[in-house]
Amino acid sequence: MDCSSWINTSLDLNINPHRLHEDVPKKEVENNFFSLGMNKSSLKEEASGALVEELKRVTAENKKLTEMLTEMCENYNALRSNLMEYMRKNPEKELSSSKKRKSESSNNNNSIPMVVNGNSESSSTDEESCKKPKEEIKTKVSRVSVRTEASDTSLIVKDGYQWRKYGQKVTRDNPSPRAYFKCSFAPSCPVKKKVQRSVDDQSVLVATYEGEHNHPHPSQMEVTTSSNRCVTLGSVPCSASLSSSAPTVTLDWTKSKSSTKSESKNIIPKIDSPEVPQVLVEQMATSLTKDPNFRAALVAAISGKMLHNN
């Protein structure tokens, strides 16, 4: 007997389990199996074996992906916390540099390629995802009130620094306009000043300072003239800022006329605020009188006032 009649070699069979998921009709495969003398149950075993293999492969890939994701999340969180730490330490630097970066990114769309799962992909800068929370930017805010003469309608508070006015607007809560100033050292100096007349007393100018000067106080300092006197507002800390080296001092010259009188007798005004102990006031006065800058400024102010009166 011819052996070729027992074994059919012209069927071009492929029992590769992956082909089960391809376009080969199931019946055709089954027929092929049957023609090889395989029964239906063995075909199902093969199919389930293929499924198990596929399942194993996908599960392994799944595990790998999970590991990659975990690692990526860790890296991202580490980078993010580092960035937050850096921003907390250098708030001003970050503010100015982020503005620069924004303009750069709008011109040049830089992207860093990253290989994920064998596929290369790139991402563009998304500013919103990295927006710094506003509450984290803690700028130093101080408020100073200055009494002016009734006839004086200007919104100028003389504090020794040079300011450049860049805007003015009327607010809802206050009929008098609010003027906006920037320190003339801007953009290197971030300090801004808002000046508006008090709602309660129109003769009082309220100046709000935001930020800290990153430069020394101008040596040719202008001391408050007779029309401007420095006053503090309640809880907000205020510095008379006569000199950058001088200690911070709080003076209240408007609350009562008696304090003004005492000032004429004594160089050191008596502060009525219960929050400041007398010992502290004396210490501040001592340190102020020792400061040559302060003395020079005081002499200049007094002589200027005398000349003005003459």
């Binding site: 992906l65 990253m114 994920v116 992909e121 790139s122 991402s123 995802s129």
Partner: protein, 41 residues
């Protein structure tokens, strides 16, 4: 046997879907990471 095969197929579908989801998540995280890195550079 019929049941076990269909179970396997279901399981395979589930794991494949999970795989896809994981890939998408990984892409998002990578994108965020790159954004942050760009921001720092």
């Amino acid at each position: 046997e019929e049941e076990s095969t269909s179970d396997l197929e279901e399981e395979l579908k589930r794991v494949t879907a999970e795989n896809k989801k994981l890939s998408e998540m990984l892409s998002v995280v990578c994108e965020n990471y790159n954004t942050l890195r760009n921001h720092l550079m």
